[in-house]
Amino acid sequence: MRRIQRFPGQAMLIAIIVSGLPVWAHEPGAHVHGRAALEIAIDGAVAQVNLNSPLDNLLGFEHAPRNEKERQAIKAMASKLNEASSLFVFTPAAQCRLESADLNSPVLSADLLPPASGSGKSADKNSGASEFSPPASSAAVDAHAELDATWQFQCAKPQALQGVDVQLFRMFPGLRRLDVAIAGPKGQSSTKLSPESTRLKW
């Protein structure tokens, strides 16, 4: 390992920074109830939103349904998530329309998570080079499970698009905090949302 020596000032700066390093909630593998990761990418007229949340935030449990009540709860969750226009309220002038919604969870079978009506194709494009593959499901081992949701919006007037109001907290009271990463026309940024502050601007 070749090394570069630091200046004393740098060492101090790094010490300050590293001493404050928290565990990043949206690191791969982190599973914290109450928190979820939201990613928003805007390119031209397309806005793509991805939510990765512990199932507990959305459902109250993290396993395959064991009775009819739990089945109904999953269906209710799926229909709320499929109605993404009311979950993500973009700048009205931009006229953004939901194109597709795709829900995925290792413990819930696909028939419990039907695609949004009118969207035939999946928004998920996980079909890259062969070395890259989705992680193996560890749900059975640690009894925690997550839901991965991807929505795609198409905006008629993208130049008017300035932000989005995230209504997930109102729909899912189990969700307390969202770690948001944005890749937008003005660059990348990150922020946190809570039930008290739900607006994103870029």
Binding site: M1, R3, G187, S189, S190
Partner: protein, 428 residues
Amino acid sequence: MPKCGGSGLKSLFSLAFASAWNRRATLGLMAVSIALSVMLLLGVEQLRTQARESFSQSISGTDLVVGARTSPIQLMLYAVFRLGDATHNIRWASFQAMAAHPAVAWAVPISLGDSHRDFAVIGTTSAYFKYFRYGDRRLLAFAAGKPFTDIFDAVIGADVAAQLGYQVGDSIVLNHGAKGLGLTEHADKPFKVSGILKRTGLPVDRSVHVSLEGIEAIHLDWQGGAPMPGVSIPAEYVRKFDLAPKEITAALIGLKSRAGVFQMQRFINQYKGEPLLAVLPGVALDELWSIVGIVEKSLLAISALVVAVGLSGLVAVVLAGLGERRRELAILRSVGAGPRVVFLLLAIEGLMVVVAGALLGVLGLAVLSLFAAPVLEARLGISLAVGMLSAEAWQLLLLVMAIGFLVSLVPGYRAYRLSLSDGLTPRL
């Protein structure tokens, strides 16, 4: 005698100034202490905003930064700002796999670890000069010469050229590891300066750029971080060896479409070959600032307290001086000045000292940053714009002056009460 009209106010100001001039030593010292506190407050504010700006300017055109799995912030610090060390390298094969991904528009490898004098040496490819963007999506420009083409070519940053006096065509020797670490030199394989970059205000200015093959070549006859005893491969023979890099420290990646950035990030984080970490530089920087923000806020709070100490010192000095000035105030009363005029006089005096102190502070800060800017840039890679106050700094300055005026109403009110009770004959 002054009444509260237009010309009356003007003569009140000149009267207040003349009176203050008589006590210029005390009030002058007071203005200096306010100047120092304002300097501290604005200095902290300026450093805070400009550090943030210069960090975010450094990587404006890069979609993803990739390195070995570590904390996202640590990766950003060593890959982009050359602060700290990498814990692991990444394999060249992993870099090639990423670069070949259909979503990737360009990929620039970065290999760190060697140095030249005080400056970091970066092994990369000529793609670095073609794709690395900073600031308002600007590309690196050459002040002289051209990108490296030969194995032993080097492109140097503006500071390297200026501080060491290098010209295109000069020969330089790289050191293994960093300065001051026993300094094993790669003296048998000198590099030739092929180009000098224009000043950017980024860590690039303090870097020596060479090809990845050059980095491999100087380490051909090395093993375990030291020259192999009895083995020496002369520079003219290195071309016969396989100079394909085996490892790099990090990679900068640009994508064809911004929309794919999170998918690409996931692909890299789940790469099977070895544990990799991809970060969105803008996102990692925001996370960094959300941590540093606590330190920033406490620094700002401390400097605000120092300003408060300065202002209360001012009130104390003016109040203490009142006792000695009762005769002066009585004379003013005797020539027809009402208690209200006395009140205004004192308030104006306080305001004058605060404004003078604030302006002196701004001036002092400008002079100080003139001297501090080169040091800050060299040590921390923060470029400080000299003499420019941000909108927030102006707001702070106005706030200080407003509070200064408000607190100088206190001695004004005291004088008002005194002149009512004393009338024309103060009992001294």
